[in-house]
Amino acid sequence: MNKILEIKDVHAKIGNKEILKGLNLDLEPGKVHAIMGPNGAGKSTLSKTIVGHYDVEMTSGDILYKGKSIKEMEPEERALEGIFLSFQHPVEIPGVNNTYFLRTAVNAKRKFEGKEELNAAEFLREMKKYLELLGMKSDMISRSLNEGFSGGEKKRNEILQMMMLEPDVIILDEIDSGLDIDALRAVSEGINKMKDGKRSFLVITHYSRILDYIKPDYIHVLKEGRIIKTAGPELVSQLEEHGYDSIEEIQ
């Protein structure tokens, strides 16, 4: 199997508590992988581990991105390489203009890739392409980053960043939480636009609702820090019917 991201026997803890206990997971290019699991299974810890969050200490195992270990990389290095996390709760940063922030991020990526940086006008032209698609009001880009944004606006802003940064591995942590049906549709449309047969998506979710909009290729069940089952999309209905407790029996 061709792999873009390989998570190999990863153990990770937050504080003194081990959360991931020998987790193995491979992501294929161009595929949508959904991670489902009960509360406290380690879903958010998995996403934090991949992006190098300060909360998490990876105690053993390895994570390979395009065949290269990223476990010693700083968060910004992982991002520049092409890994993107859409946060469950994007932080508000008063005083940082949304456009300025995103242009800084886009230009950091372009510089890393040896491309010319975009000037303000070029950047705005690029950004406007996506604003309409995401149903974002124009004032959102001139406000402070996420400050005073509703839950839906924050998620749309995450997707805007994703579209502008063009990552190769996209982790969507509870992207559907706090979204009404219109926002969910707009966000899903943005995500589906990013599917190009090469990018890989890791959709972390409690509920199957988002998977009606972003069709998964694989469902992975995460429980007690390990992937305990991997199957096709048909597993969703089984989970809905029997719950997570049934998975061990299925195994």
Binding site: E76, G95, A105, K109
Partner: protein, 397 residues
């Protein structure tokens, strides 16, 4: 002149030393308060004593012809330029607050028997530039600022020092904000290279239903202290914002007293402090609600970010309340940059160093962006970034 030579003098001797005739009440007040020292409340954290023993040269304040200019220019305490039509003149000052907490407020008045009086007409927006050109000098002057009732005026103030050293500037305002009016004062002071130190001692009277909007941007290094007493009449409002960005071994800050005297008066005071190197920031701020000030609303807050382990913030927000019918709050936090915010930026490919810079500038911008005039807002942002980058190269912290 050594200020320490005035220590322990009685009113008569003080008058003789300072060549003052009359002004007995002021002399008595100065004698009763004595010279400032570390033991006094106002200067506890500032080391004022180091300036008292310096032998400064003094200047003869000879009024000069005032040329026409787009802004008021005061050079070494003397007005040299002003906008056409602006009423600006020297006058003997008798409107002195006899309850000010700062001894240098009184010394400043004694050293400046004539004050610079500025009367702002209508809804004017005026710029004032202070320029200092003399080394080893005690420059002392005071300004009386008046606006008109029912009008909304703005004063933008900044400071320039030529290539001088070892000068001490004592200056300050007596502001009289007329009933039903608004006076905005936006003060930006970048200091560096130990050219001069400053103690600014102000008194602000806010009349009934008037608004005082005072924004201070104290940037860079060196030594400076602002001492402000603000009296609020009924339905008067003050909004005071203080941004402090300090680097190296500077000591600067604000000591303030906001006194609610009238009913329904309101105050909101916000300090944002960013300290690097061995800097010490001071925000020693008292809000006093007198028994005559029922239904007051008073809110006070100080936030400080320390960028270096040796940086130190003295934050002392205080409330002194003599009534029950009011709404009041105060708070203070000192910490480092927010880890979550820092990580969020880094997770988008922005380097640790760049992310820190963005957050520091953002913290400052929340106060800078309360200056509504876009040209001045940009000037303050530029001054802030210049001060910030003096301590850091653009590529590293």
């Amino acid at each position: 002149m050594k200020l320490i030579d005035l220590k322990g003098k009685n009113a008569q001797s003080l008058a003789a030393d300072l060549h003052i005739k009359g002004r007995e009440a002021l002399l008595e007040k100065m004698v009763s308060m004595g010279l400032p020292s570390k033991k006094g409340e106002a200067y506890r954290y500032f080391d004022i004593e180091q300036f008292l023993t310096v032998d400064y040269q003094t200047l003869a304040y000879v009024p000069k012809p005032v040329k026409e200019s787009g802004k008021i220019e005061i050079v070494d305490g003397v007005v040299v330029a002003a906008p056409k039509g602006l009423r600006i003149y020297y006058e003997h000052s008798d409107a002195i607050d006899m309850e000010h907490f700062d001894p240098l407020y009184y010394l400043g008045h004694l050293l400046s028997p004539s004050v610079i009086k500025i009367e702002i007409d209508g809804d004017a927006s005026i710029e004032l530039e202070h320029r200092f050109t003399q080394s080893d000098t005690l420059i002392s002057y005071r300004i009386v600022l008046l606006n008109q009732a029912n009008r909304h005026a703005t004063l933008y103030e900044n400071f320039i020092a030529e290539n001088i050293t070892n000068t001490l500037v004592l200056y300050g305002y007596d502001m009289h904000i007329a009933p039903d009016s608004t006076l905005r004062v936006v003060r930006t002071q970048s200091m560096q290279d130990k050219r001069y130190a400053m103690v600014a001692s102000h008194k602000v009277n806010v009349a009934q239903r008037a608004n005082a909007l005072l924004k201070n941007f104290d940037l860079g290094g060196d030594l400076g202290l602002q001492l402000i007493k603000i009296d609020l009449a009924a339905y008067a409002h003050v909004e005071a914002g203080h941004l402090l960005y300090l680097n190296h071994d500077s000591k600067r800050g604000t000591v303030s007293q906001i006194v609610h005297k009238g009913e329904h008066s309101t105050s909101r005071q916000e300090a944002k402090n960013i300290l690097d190197g061995n800097a010490r920031g001071i925000f020693d701020a008292l809000i006093k609600v007198e028994h005559t000030a029922k239904y007051t609303k008073a809110h006070q807050n100080s936030k400080a970010i320390l960028l270096h382990e040796n940086a130190y913030m003295v934050a002392k927000p205080q409330l002194e309340i003599y009534i029950d019918e009011l709404e009041a709050s105060h708070g203070s936090t000192t910490g480092q940059l927010d880890k979550k915010q820092l990580f969020y930026l880094r997770s988008r490919g922005i380097s640790y160093i760049e992310a820190r810079k963005i957050l520091v500038i953002a913290f400052a911008n929340t106060l800078i962006e309360t200056v509504k005039d876009s040209r001045h807002q940009e000037m303050i942002k530029a001054a802030f970034e210049e001060a910030f980058y003096q301590g850091h190269t653009k590529d590293g912290l």
